[in-house]
């Protein structure tokens, strides 16, 4: 038996609750049958055009993220704990953002070093003192979770800016229902298809008081060349709202309008999938052509809601991440339900010393990195890579955190020759509106398809799985 916890077999190989029918389905299927289903799934994805672009790879301009046909299953008790923990965490993070762009109580209390906030790349001075609609900074977030044993889930990362992947959660379900109706017959899987509806009502709940009763919501995309464009168009379609690019909108008298075949039409809520930097050339990067000049001024005047708010990146920064348990205690007076991965802050001399001494056993991440770039996995690194990171750490310790190499759980995965365990994580999505915080039961399970690999990012050879939360 491997040293990793397996979602189906636990540590001893005994089939865990919820997986018994999946186990017998896998036992009864030949590799050829599984391969045929897998190919069928790929054809469906390609036909539908669920593709993503990989930056810096012009030849393979569009790829599909491999979909693994074996579902990942969570019991209803597991989900109950997870969803409570997620809601708690997001509630606290919203209050934290309101605080640091407002009175700064947590800094005055000395719980977080001021420099970590005010000198942070993602801190937006433009947001200080801005009255954010209903005090909600992160209407949409995706929180990355890993599991290390039967009872322990860790939060790996909070994605509070423009998290993507929810379209895969929805499409994976559609496709597995098409491919495996018999499995859905044998299980009571809680649905996820209500997500677009929940997202729309979350967004509508943020509309300015001056907006009509049926506010105009749009999704702002950087355009078809963006790696997540498929998701933007998918969501616009499911929500029944316009998918706009910056050039489709303009600002007049601090109000935002879009150009339509019937003339200008006022926009009340913008679900933007464009980074802060590109949103408004007047406020941020002057060379951006993706944004809308004057958007931030309109936002500050309270004439339009923008989700997520600008400047939320300061709270999902990997350095601030290490303080989230304190953040939860400070604002809610509760113990955090979800744990953080034990993390060394390299900015602290003792931690740095420990990290340098144990580099080959640790995972080192850049504070501002994402997508698996700029990361060192100690146990798998070459001597040269270790040396390189040793120098980087010594030069700019503030830029790094380190974590023990986690024994991420594995899940049975079809790998060509047959079924084998592969490491997985989980990204559930949390919605916060003026009408409450909610999750849909499930999320996106990402799987590292290479044997032994712990990197699940789609840009680095990761795949996805349908994620089932069982009803009982």
């Amino acid at each position: 038996m491997s040293k990793f916890f397996d979602e189906m077999g636990g540590v001893d190989g005994e089939v865990r609750a919820g997986y018994s029918q999946i186990r017998s389905w896998l036992d009864q299927s030949t590799p050829e049958q599984l391969r045929a289903r897998s190919r069928e799934a790929e054809i469906l994805f390609r036909r539908i055009g669920i593709t993503f672009a990989v930056y810096g790879d012009s030849a393979g301009e569009e790829r599909i993220i491999p979909f693994d046909i074996v579902p990942r299953i969570l019991s209803s008790t597991e989900w109950q704990t997870l969803s409570k923990g997620l809601e708690q965490r997001v509630r606290a993070l919203n209050m934290f953002l309101g605080d640091i762009y407002g009175p700064g109580e947590i800094l005055k209390a000395g719980l977080i070093p001021e420099g970590l906030i005010y000198r942070n790349t993602y801190f937006r001075p433009e947001m200080v003192g801005v009255k954010v609609p209903h005090g909600i900074y992160v209407p949409v977030c995706g929180i990355d979770i890993v599991r290390v044993d039967a009872d322990t889930f860790y939060v790996l990362e909070d994605n509070l800016r423009t998290p993507s992947g929810v379209s895969y959660m929805l499409e994976n379900r559609e496709i597995s229902m098409r491919l495996f109706p018999e499995l859905f017959n044998e299980h009571r899987v809680r649905p996820v298809e209500q997500y677009p509806n929940e997202l729309l009502s979350t967004l509508q709940s943020l509309a300015p008081a001056s907006a009509p009763r049926d506010p105009t919501v749009v999704i702002l995309t950087p355009g078809p060349l963006n790696s997540a464009y498929y998701e933007h168009s998918f969501l616009a379609d499911r929500l029944g709202v316009e998918l706009v690019e910056g050039r489709d909108m303009f600002v007049d008298q601090n109000r935002v309008y879009m150009r339509t075949t019937e003339g200008p039409r006022q926009v009340d809520v913008i679900y933007r999938r464009v980074d802060d930097d590109y949103l408004d050339p007047l406020a941020f990067r002057p060379d951006s052509v993706l944004g809308v000049p004057g958007l931030i001024a309109a936002y500050r005047s309270g004439n339009v809601a923008v989700a997520n708010a600008m400047g939320t990146g300061v709270a999902d920064d990997k350095a601030v991440y290490t303080y989230v348990p304190e953040i939860v205690r400070f604002y809610l007076g509760e113990e955090p339900i979800l744990k953080n991965v034990p993390t060394y802050r390299c900015r602290e001399p003792d931690s740095l010393k420990y990290v340098l001494e144990n580099l080959s056993e640790l995972v080192v991440k850049m504070v501002s990195g994402s997508g698996g770039y700029g990361m060192l996995v100690g146990p798998r690194a070459t001597a040269a890579e270790l040396e390189d990171f040793r120098n980087k750490l010594a030069a700019e310790p503030d830029e790094f955190i380190a974590q023990p190499t986690l024994a991420l759980s594995t899940c049975p995965t079809f790998v060509g020759e047959g079924i084998a365990p592969r490491h997985v994580d989980l990204r559930p999505f949390v919605l916060s509106g003026s009408n409450g915080i909610r999750t849909v039961p499930g999320g996106l399970t990402r799987v590292a398809l290479k044997e032994g690999s712990l990197v699940v990012n789609s840009s680095q050879g990761g795949g996805t799985k349908d994620t089932w939360v069982l009803d009982q």
């Binding site: 036909r47 168009s233 379609d237 316009e242 075949t261």
Partner: protein, 314 residues
């Protein structure tokens, strides 16, 4: 209500899909005519006519010099340098479709994306007569599938109207050009009725507009050149006739005017064009001069497309 950019992409998407099919039909006709024994074919170079019918004769001659089979097939079907080649149509069409996916139904997207993917199977290097036939059948089928999925799945909103405006503006243009490139064989001085050498030219014009069988059903008599012109220009029953296209264009523009509560220059132009076609006869057209009439029709149709863009798409 529709984003102007989205309306423009829908309009052009429809035009490119339609153009791919028209080009495939033109190539099909050229293949048939050039395969005829020379005693049946007259003196024309059918490959040259094909290029002329797509309106890209000058650029083609500059680039290739010689309108051979290979050159013409490459130019019209595969060349990325010809913005109207079938490959370019699929590329641009898919790009537009991707940019407006929210305005398309899933069936439409799958049709265009599937065609675009399949297009990679074909290249000029492997275009034996049999493969060419297979290729042309694929293009026509893809276009029919796309058109059919639009017909069966698209909501009848303004998005649909802009999409169809693209289809009909493009179709009227294609019909007029197919006629114009052969107008000389339709002139009355050619030797008289039935069975003559020109029969194959006349039938090829009809094939180019997929109207050969339709001719028999409408007129129930042997091919006569002025009837061919009448069918393709004036008969409202034929879905590719210029009159029928203009009628549709005008109706979709009226629908938009009704939806939006405002008429504009494009509605007035379309109605005037439609009225002129409804009130004329094939005799009057021959009297004016067939070529002159067609040149004017192409120019007016272009101007109408421009008016639609100015009124809605910017």
């Amino acid at each position: 209500m529709l984003l102007s950019r989205v309306a423009a992409d829908l309009f052009w998407l429809a035009r490119y899909a339609e153009r791919a099919e028209n080009t495939a039909r033109i190539l099909d006709v050229a293949t048939r005519l050039s395969a005829l024994p020379s005693t049946y074919g007259g003196q024309t170079n059918e490959w040259e006519s094909a290029v002329l019918a797509t309106g890209s004769g000058d650029v083609f001659m500059e680039r290739y010099g010689e309108p051979t089979r290979r050159n013409v097939i490459e130019w019209l079907a595969f060349s990325p340098e010809n913005p109207s080649s079938i490959r370019s149509c699929f590329d641009v069409g898919r790009r537009s479709a991707r940019a407006v996916r929210t305005a398309l139904t899933r069936d439409m997207w799958e049709a265009i994306n599937g065609a675009w993917l399949e297009m990679r199977r074909f290249s000029i290097e492997s275009m034996s007569p049999r493969q060419l036939a297979e290729f042309l059948a694929f293009v026509i089928e893809a276009s029919l599938r796309f058109d059919g999925s639009a017909y069966r799945t698209m909501l009848r909103t303004d998005a649909h109207a802009f999409f169809r405006l693209g289809t009909f503006i493009e179709r009227a243009d294609a019909t007029a050009r197919i006629l114009d490139v052969k107008y000389h064989v339709l002139l009355p001085e050619g030797d008289a009725v039935g069975g003559g050498l020109d029969y194959f030219q006349w039938s090829s014009i009809l094939r180019g507009a997929s109207a050969l069988t339709a001719y028999q059903w409408v007129f129930r008599e042997a091919l006569r050149p002025w009837r061919v012109a009448e069918l393709l220009i004036l008969r409202p029953e034929l879905p590719r006739s210029i009159a029928s296209c203009t009628d549709n264009t005008s109706r979709f523009l009226d629908q938009l005017a009704g939806d939006y509560g405002r008429h504009g220059p494009s509605q007035r132009m379309a109605r005037a064009m439609h009225a002129r076609l409804a009130n004329t006869t094939v005799d009057a057209i021959y009297h004016e001069g067939l070529h002159e009439f067609l040149t004017r029709a192409i120019a007016e149709n272009n101007a109408l497309g421009g008016a639609i863009e100015a009124q809605y798409l910017r």
